[in-house]
Symmetry: C2
Subunit: 244 residues, 2 copies
DNA sequence: CGGTATTTTGAATGCTATCAAATAGCGTGG
DNA sequence: CCACGCTATTTGATAGCATTCAAAATACCG
């Protein structure tokens, strides 16, 4: 049996609030109904909405919107420990589609079960809300990124942010991380062309800032990158001011 | 005494769920502590967070982030009936600044009072959550707008969306609305230059689509605009599927 | 009526897209 | 194990949209 504390969700929430053993076992109660899915499948389709949310246990996922001309904008990527479709399940509205980027494993969560957990345990409810709020803050940061930064800065900021998130769940550190995204994914997320993404990555590599090759992001000069885009990971590393 | 049903907040929430007289009086209970502010003042500053949220009663406000190079990205505008700083008050984190665009009137709302209302009245709690969720959906729509549309399309989409929101609170219709935003505001919201905003507005005007002059937006061809950007106001006009 | 903020227009530059094509990587089947 | 086909990456040349710099015209305010 897996050690409860080691699920990505527990790690992430644990970074927000201290979790007791009983908190952890309540959380693990949500991890029944495991499901596996191959890469490139839609989990939720734009407009559809049902009573189920998911916790991503393994693999990467993206949420996106398609425009009438066929282009798409990726709103966010989700990594292990993230909820999928939480708001759409709670509020019966889905404004975007969700697709698996890699093969994934998810745990189905019934809204009813989740609300029960919240009712039993304020600490967990807060932690989950906190995480949801962080996700929203990331969308805002993403908006600023696309609206006001050059292509090189966008890329740097994006890869730094991803690094911080992965570090939180033990899948990366300041030296880099494994990343399954293609240059097309990056393009759709950053509002660029895949061709230009390639040139931007080359530029970052040639300036000794970072290398993204063979599915691995390597920060060659973390501090330099952070300075370049004024990266402030504070909005991700909350030190749980609400509950201790 | 003002008729309760006529506050912009009541109008907006009323479009989500049917509100009874007792719901309305509970709502109006939140409208004590009226405050007035002149244009161009900060209500909440990036990073600060306190226990107070606001309901905007009159005037326009914008929430934005400033980048280290001095440029700014406006994340959203708020119009009468919108909450200001709701999430930051609930979760003790503010990721953006809020500034008055015009002279405004707000009602201060203590988190405690708001939570009391929620506890007493599920219908209102749902309506408010719904409104908050709509605001989030608008940020996502905004992201898509900036990431994947041309300058002309961005402008058209933005002004259409604003029109829908204003219509909901009785401040506009399909023919147009009064709009206090300067071309600098539009530029900061759409990730453009003020100079280019001007050219884009001219282009829209010369194509007979819309006219924005002397603080008035006039839709010269509403259907043409909606088609141009595939505008779908569905995500704003919810017909309250949750509570009737 | 002067002063400031906003809008408008012009010319030149530059960043990113588009179009086109070559190279490299990877899984599959012979 | 190699050939094949597909997807992803890389590079070059050209076009275009939006920015930048500059300045004039107009609106707004006390």
């Amino acid at each position: 049996m897996t050690v409860i504390e080691d699920t990505p969700l527990a790690k992430k929430l644990g970074a927000f609030v201290a979790l007791s053993t009983s908190d952890l076992s309540l959380l693990s109660g949500l991890h029944r109904r495991r499901k596996a899915l191959v890469a490139g499948r839609d989990l939720v389709h734009q407009g559809q909405s049902d009573q189920i949310a998911y916790i991503l246990a393994a693999g990467w996922v993206c949420s996106y919107k398609i425009l009438p001309d066929g282009s798409r904008q990726i709103v966010d990527f989700q990594i292990p420990g993230d909820f999928l479709g939480l708001r759409s399940a709670l509020l019966h509205t889905s404004d975007r589609s969700i697709e698996s980027v890699t093969d994934i494993e998810v745990s189905e969560v019934l809204v009813r079960d989740l609300l029960n957990v919240f009712a039993q345990n304020l600490r967990l409810a807060t932690a989950v809300l906190w995480a949801a709020s962080r996700d929203e803050a990331m969308v805002v940061e993403h908006l600023v990124n696309i609206g006001r930064r050059s292509a090189v800065e966008r890329m740097a900021h994006f890869l730094l942010e991803l690094g911080s998130r992965l570090t939180l769940v033990g899948m990366g550190d300041k030296s880099g991380y494994t990343c399954p995204l293609t240059q097309y994914h990056l393009a759709d997320a950053l509002g660029l062309t895949a061709v230009h993404v390639n040139r931007v990555l080359r530029q970052l590599r040639e300036n000794g800032l970072l290398t993204f090759r063979n599915g691995v992001v390597t920060f060659d000069n973390y501090q330099g990158l952070a300075t370049l885009v004024d990266f402030d990971p504070t909005y991700l590393d909350q030190t749980g001011p609400l509950l201790k």
